[in-house]
Each structure stands twice: as C-alpha cells, then as structure tokens.
C-alpha cells in the first residue's frame, strides 16, 4: 500500500478556519508525532470542537449527580436509560439544533428531531414520544414569524412522517433570542431492559457496517459551525445545514429494531455531528480497539467526493455498526427488505489507530486514544453574576382582572394550539394526556402504566440569578411530573449559553450547573444524558442563559393520575404551599410594566420535595384527579388555565389583606392548585396538614366565568378568545 500524506501543506489560515487555536494545533502535532494532512486536520477539528469535546464544560458537567438505583445508563452514551419496571427501560435525551435552525429553520429543526430519535433507537429503544423546547426572538421581530413557521413545520414534517407523536414541550419569545433561536429536541423511547445496545466496538477483525442513506456533501463542518458565534455573514453557512428525510428514518428505525431482535449486532452508533468521523472514533475508543475504514466502500450520493468530505459529511439517517463475524448476510437481507443501503466499509484492528483508506491511498492514520483523550479541556475563567437589585417599586396598581386578561393573551402564556395542532401528537395511539397540561402522558404500550414528561426552563430567572435559575429549571420539570401523578425519575439537559470565553457567560454557565446539581441532589433526580450548545451569540450579543431541562417520570397506574382540567361543578379548589407574593422577575412585571427586574423568587429544593411528595401521595391514592402547579404568571393564571381546560367557571376568594398583585401574580415556588369534591377535599386538607404542608381552600368550581371576590369577573368565553387568538394572530393565520 502507498503511504501518503495527500493534500496541501497546512497553513495558519487553514488551522484558524478549522476553529483550532495555535495551542490546540500544537497538541495535534504532538498526538500524531508529525504535522497532519488536511483530512486529519478536519478530523481533529471536529473531534475537538466544543460540540463534540465539551472542552469548556466538561469539568463542570462532572459535578452533576448522575446516579440513582433506577439509572441503567448515565451520561456518556447515545442517550440515558432508566428502569421503569417489568423488565422495561426508558431511553431518553435532549439535544440542541440551534445554529442550523436559525440559518434554515425547516431543515434545521427537522434534522434536529431526526438526530435525537437516532440517538434513542441506536440503543435498542422504539421512540414513543418527541418533545421540543423552542425559544424565538421578540414576536414583532422581523424574522420571528419566518423562524416559528419554519421550525414548527420542520418538527411536524419530520415527526409526523416517522410516526412518533410530538406530545409536549415549550415555546417562548424574548428579544434576547432575536439573533439566535433555540431548538432543543427530546425523544423518549422504550426498550427491553435486557436488550440495550451500546457503542463500544469489540472483536478484532469484526466487520464495520454502514447502513442508511448515502453520504453527500451536506452538513460538512456542522459541528464546527455549532461551536462558533454568528455574524452578519452567517447566512452564507446555509450549505452546512443538513437535509432530512423522515421516510428513510422510519425505514431505518424498523430495520434496526428488526436486526436488534437477533444477536447480529456487537455495537452500534448513529452518525450525528461530525458523521463518520465521530461515530467511528467513539466506537473504537470506547472498545479500546483500532478501526480501519475503506472510503471507496461508503455509499455516496455525489461523485468525486474527497476523503475530507466523506469523513466530515453530516448527511442524515446513517448508522455505523459492528457485527458478529458471519452475520453480514442475514443483516444485509434485513436492510435490503427495507430498501436501505448496507455496506461493509471496514473492520476492527488491534493497532489502536483510526486508519482511513481511499482505494490504495492511506488518507489518514491517527492514534484513537489521543484523538479522544488529548482533546483540550479548559477551566475557563468565570465571573459570578451580580445579585439583582431589590424591586424598588411594584408600579402603579392594575386591576387584577385587567392584568389577568393581558397575561392570558401574552405570547408566553397564550395557547400553543396553533403549534401543537401541526404536530401529530396521537400516532401510536398511546397518548393519554395531550399537549396543554403540566406534562405529557404516554401509555407504555400494552400496559396500564405510563411515562410522563415535561421540558422547562425560566431564562429570566437564570439571567438574574443563574444558580437559582438552574435549580428552578430542574425543579419545575419535577413539579410538572408530580402534578400529573408521576414519580419523577431523571432528567436530560440541553445547556444553551453564549460564548464561554467571556467570563460573565462562563459565570452564568457555572452558576446554572451549580443550581442544577443542588436540585438534582435534593430531589434524587439525576442527570442521565444531555448536550451543551455554546456560542449562541450574534455580533457579541449573547442569548439569556437557558439550561433547558427534560424530565421523565413514571405513572404506575393510569387510573390514578391528575390533570389540570376542572371536572365537576361544586369542587373545592385549594392552594397547596405558601408564598409571600414575590413579584421580582415575574411575567406580571414584564408584561404589565415592561420591567424585567428584581430578585428571583426563593427556592428550596428540599422543601419542594416535601410539598411535591405530599401532593403525589394524594394522587397516587386515587383521591385527587385535578392538580396544576403554579409557575409563570402565578396563582390567578394557573387557576384560569384550569378553568379553561375544564370549560368550567371558578369563584375565587381574595385575601382579606395584603398586596393583591403579589397574591394573584407572584411566582413563589413550591405551590400547586388542587380541586376535589367537598367531602374529598376535607380528607386531602387533613392529610396535608398532618404532613405539615400548608394548604387552604381558595375557591369553588361554578358557573362559566372566572370570578375574584371583590374584583369582578371575566367570562370564560372572553378569556378563551384572548388566550387562543394570540399565536394565530402573530402567525398571520387569523
């Protein structure tokens, strides 16, 4: 074989274009013992990109709790796995596709959904639910409508075709995202607990198989793009956005699950960010073996592709597998039945190297260990975020019912129906709780149990006080799961921040992770998977810190669960938990006075746990079927959401003294509203009292209006019209 170092001499410009610093390039030369060729430089650059190497966050991510008796797999694999009993496991992860979705919203969002589903079925799980956490710029920003419409149609177009229901998530608008939107996609799958597939390659000489779509020139350097800031020329990066094909993904899911029912597969990994490079290197590194690839055998969509392009392409719907020797023919038959490409493109070796050939030419040869282990790790300087000033003035008094009308119609609280009606949220026929409640509930097929899931983050808290904000994001998912009657099990996270090379941004990141760790610890609610998206900045303007959290819980018996809809006239409504009427950083301040100010509400994860577990016991014992946590917008908004969901009016008693705005719209934490028939409510309140949890009756279900004693009423029809009209109006659909 010809030994060869093809391609041009590496110049300083090429190093910079690959996003490597001088110091990092020096590490490359040390790892190789010589200068790299262009293909090798490309491979190092993607493997050491922020996106693949977590070089700015690794030391902090290590501080997150990742273990619990029910955790089967924590971070480090394609997705996290928890035990859900009866020999079954839930496999889940959330991932960002922010940069591509801003450049090309439809394809960017679609391929984000496709990528996260592959992470889940790679492990042997059938995907059963998709969620997404979306953040857009100000509603009146020139690009917002285009971006919302593209992202929503991309998510729907992909998930609907694959046939996995999109059951929940969140959508928010804020000028802080004008230049960088966030598209975080989460998939949950179910696998037999004893048939989980991992990525560690094993068996020297075993064949390496490529399956799925052909490789094209799309998405080259996607991982590098996701690790850089935007500027005015970012539009030119459109060619680095991949194109999705959900039909092929559907076939790939069926073919992989069919093959996974046999004993043919030793290891499997999807080709996501950094494509063939990342998948082959990670499989070899985890297995402690070498890997040899023949690029001429890789199915290609375009002609005359270079080794550099094939190794760095991020073409979608592709997987890499190591098979047992002799299993090739059987595996090939499965993929041919599903009309997918199947090619033996290499084998495992004992030399610990990634060796890439194109025909007779060796185009890259890199020791695997340094490629992974010598990746730079940075302890970046960070500055704690200064504590926000006290709220000087609450602003002029606004009649609470007037404020309520404004809040119910504001973009962050208005009905998301316009969005979720474009998602098939019922395919697979196991969706028990449709979008619009605290958490989505999806039955575990063929059983009476269910998974509950919710994604949450309150970026305005994270920006004002990162530690509290990080903790609150975790706690809010936990609370949402509890509110439907689920035992929270674990979370996945998607940490979206600006440029970590700026100490104040790094300070936000460190603060949020510290807060998350405290909450996870206190709630016994570990992190099992996740992703980091940095450099969400345009022209030096960073997004608000946004650690999006995806929580997963288990409902043991579908007959014992709750939702937010008021169900019976005459039911009493009670407030569980207590507050001081905290107005700092609330939606009330923002929407009524245009002020994002003041300290964040107090949060005590241990207290959250006590209150939440007390509420959960009421639901699990089958006595409580109506429950809603109090979050954005406060008590009066939560109560109105319950009334609208049930189509029943509600008469609330106003407090005798004190600040009505704080009572109605304060965002004090650890609170729930519950509703039950009077005879049942007595027992519930007695139980809560016995557990030392404050709870008091605040109203009764009746009529067809929302009434606040002494402050007037608004008909449900009027509230519903305002609540439903906002998004269609913003999107020009009404």
């Amino acid at each position: 074989m010809m030994k060869n170092t093809p391609g041009p001499e590496i110049t300083l410009e090429m190093i910079a274009e690959h996003g490597l610093t001088d110091g990092e390039y020096e590490r490359v030369v040390n790892a190789l013992g010589r200068a790299p060729n262009l293909t090798e430089l490309g491979i190092f650059s993607v493997m050491w990109s922020e996106h693949c190497s977590y070089k700015s966050t690794r030391i902090w991510l290590k501080t997150l709790p990742t273990e619990a008796p029910w955790v089967i797999q924590g971070p480090g694999e394609n997705a996290g796995i928890v035990d859900i009993g009866d020999g079954q496991a839930a496999v889940f992860k959330m991932e960002s596709h922010n940069h591509p979705s801003f450049i090309e919203p439809r394809e960017g969002a679609a391929t984000g959904v496709g990528g996260i589903m592959r992470d889940v079925f790679t492990m042997g799980a059938r995907p059963v639910a998709n969620l997404n956490a979306l953040r857009f710029g100000a509603p009146d920003h020139a690009r917002t409508r285009h971006l919302v419409s593209g992202v929503v149609s991309g998510i729907g177009g992909y998930g609907n075709c694959v046939g996995v229901p999109t059951v929940g998530g969140e959508t928010e608008f804020h000028a802080g995202y004008n230049g960088n939107i966030l598209v975080n996609a989460m998939t949950v799958g179910i696998a037999p607990a004893d048939r989980i597939f991992y990525s560690a390659a094993a068996g020297i000489g075993n064949p390496v198989i490529y399956v799925g779509s052909k490789t094209g020139r799309d998405g080259i350097h996607g991982a590098t793009m996701a690790s850089a800031e935007f500027d005015d020329e970012s539009e030119e990066k459109r060619p680095t956005v991949q194109i999705g094909d959900p039909f092929t993904e559907k076939l790939l899911i069926e073919a992989c699950l069919e093959l996974m029912a046999t004993d043919a597969i030793v290891a499997i990994q999807d080709m996501g960010a950094a494509g063939l490079t990342c998948s082959s290197v990670e499989m070899a590194d985890k297995g402690g073996v070498g890997i040899e690839l023949d690029l001429d055998a890789v199915p290609q969509r375009e002609s005359a592709m270079t080794a550099y392009e094939i190794m760095l392409s991020e073409s979608q719907e592709r997987m890499l597998m190591v098979l047992r020797p002799g299993a090739e023919d059987m595996a090939r038959a499965v993929f041919e039945k599903w009309e997918l490409d199947f090619a033996v493109i290499g084998r495992l070796t004992d030399d610990g190297r990634l060796t890439v050939r194109q025909g007779d030419v060796e185009v890259a040869t890199i020791p695997v260990r340094p490629l992974v282990d010598d990746a730079p790790i940075y302890d970046r300087p960070w500055q704690p975020t200064p504590a926000p000033a006290a709220l000087a003035d609450e602003g002029p008094a606004v009649a609470p019912m007037t404020a309520l009308s404004t809040l119910m119609a504001c973009p962050d609280l208005a009905s998301r129906r316009w969005i979720w009606e474009q998602y098939d949220h019922m395919v697979m026929a196991d969706t028990v709780e449709r979008p619009g409640g605290d958490a989505a509930v999806v039955r575990v097929h063929g059983t009476a149990k269910a998974l509950a899931m919710s994604t949450d983050c309150t970026p305005r808290y994270c920006r004002a006080a990162p530690e509290m904000g990080g903790a609150q994001a975790v706690v809010e998912t936990w609370r949402n799961l509890v509110a439907v009657g689920a035992r929270p099990l674990a979370i996945t996270d998607c940490l979206n921040f600006g440029n970590p090379e700026r100490p104040e941004i790094m300070g936000q990141l460190v603060g949020c992770i510290k807060g998350m760790a405290q909450a996870c610890e206190a709630l016994d609610y570990p992190v099992v998977s996740g992703n980091v998206s940095l450099y969400n900045e345009t022209n030096g303007q960073a997004i608000p810190p946004t650690p999006a959290i995806g929580g997963l819980g288990l409902i043991a018996d579908l007959d014992k669960r709750a939702n937010i809809a008021l169900k019976r006239d005459g039911d009493l409504v009670a407030l569980v938990g207590e507050g001081i009427g905290h107005l700092g950083q609330t939606l009330y301040r923002r929407e009524l006075f245009g002020a994002e100010d003041g300290p964040v509400p107090a949060l005590d994860p241990a207290w959250e746990r006590r209150v939440g577990e007390a509420v959960l016991r009421l639901i699990e014992t089958g006595r409580l079927d109506t429950c809603h946590d109090i979050s954005d917008g406060g008590l009066l908004v939560a109560a109105t959401e319950m009334a609208l969901a049930g189509g029943r009016g509600l008469a609330l008693e106003a407090p005798e003294e004190g600040d009505i705005a704080g009572w109605a719209f304060g965002e004090d934490q650890a609170r729930y509203l519950i509703a039950a028939p009077p005879a049942v409510m007595d027992g519930l309140l007695a139980d809560l009292q016995a557990a030392d949890i404050p709870a008091c009756r605040i109203g009764q279900v009746s009529g067809d209006a929302l009434t606040l004693e002494g402050h007037g009423h608004i008909s449900l029809g009027e509230l519903r019209a305002a609540h439903e009209a906002t998004l269609p109006r913003l999107m020009g659909a009404a």
Binding site: N160, P246, F247, W338, E339, E421, M426, V427, L558
Partner: protein
Amino acid sequence: MKAAVIVFPGSNCDRDVRVALEAVDGVAVDMVWHGEGDFEAADLIVLPGGFSYGDYLRSGAMAAHSPVMKEVVARAGKGVPVLGICNGFQVLTEAGLLPGALLANAGLNFVCRDVHVRVENSQTLFASGLEQGAVLRIPVAHHDGQYFADDETLAELADNEQIAFRYAAGETPGPANPNGSVQDIAGIYNATKTVLGLMPHPERAADPRHGGSDGQAIFAGLAQALG
C-alpha cells in the same frame, strides 16, 4: 372475522389499527407486506394511515402502484370489503377504487385534533354499529385531507348515498371542517358500499384512555357484520 392490514414502507398507523381490531372479540389480524402480490384470504382489507413511500410524489400515489395493491384492487372487485384510513383513503383514490382526490388542507398546515363527523349512511356493513345521523368525535391528523371531486361526481355520490361521513359542528375549538373538504365530506363509499375511505382515525378513538371511544363502534360493527 379475519382482517388483513397492508403495510407499506412508511405506514405508521398499522399497529394502531391492528390493536383496535384485535380489541374486538373474534377478530384476527394478518399484517401483509407491500411487496406481496398474493396474501391469505381475509374478510376485510385495511389500508392504514401513515406516509407510504414517504408520500414524496403525491400522497398515496406510489402505494397505489405497489404489488400488493394489484391484489387489493382485484379482491375489491370481487366484493371483499376494503377500509382506507387517512393515507389509506389517499391510496384508494389514487388506485381508482374511490372517486375524487385529496388535496392539501385549505389552511396549508398539517392538522391534528379531534373533529366531529356525522353518519350520513348507516345502511352499510361499515356502519352497522352506527346510528343514522349520529355524531362521532374522532381525531384527524393529516396534511392532505381536503376532499375534492367535480360537481358531476358529487351529484352521483349524493344520489347513490355514497357519502359516509360529513364533518359536523361540535364542541372542539376550530372550524368544524378542518381541511376545506367540499361539502364537508370526511369519508365516502364506492358504488357498492364495499370500499370505505375516511380521513379521521377511528383507531385513535378506540379506547377510553384515548379520551373517547366513538371510533371503536366502526370496528365492532364490521366484526359483527362480517362474522
């Protein structure tokens, strides 16, 4: 009753309809792969929802030319009942087993929500579990569900009582007709009432856990009528 559920690459409601059928006493279901030119005799053939062949040319267009559809068309010709749901309805129109066509929704967006449909003709074996004029609450989930046919065809459908279901007012938010279908048509029969195509998904309203089980009456009625 024995039912054959046809599975195209890209079908994604095949399992759901199987579950709904098997929930009825005495129903057995075979799953039939699209490449099969022949399959075991069945009392009912079901074309499920999904995105057959990715729906890349036109919804249902490629599936209509698959090997298995030749056999389905032949058996329909001999009177074997055929039920097409959503993508299955699109395939039936593309295969010429039902008149008219399904165009992109009038709103141009995918729409997934509950709708209400009125039973327009209960004197068929598909409707044997339904009352004339009854209104059922069943979900839709489609991008191309706007039924269209020319005036002559519409007159024929009406004269021959081939209109199976029409979208009707109900308590769900949004317009009663979710896609702009002509004359609010949600489902139609062929001339002999042995082929039914409908856009709503009865298999998604087949279990109290779905939030409603109005759709199950269609499967139960079919099983009773077909033995």
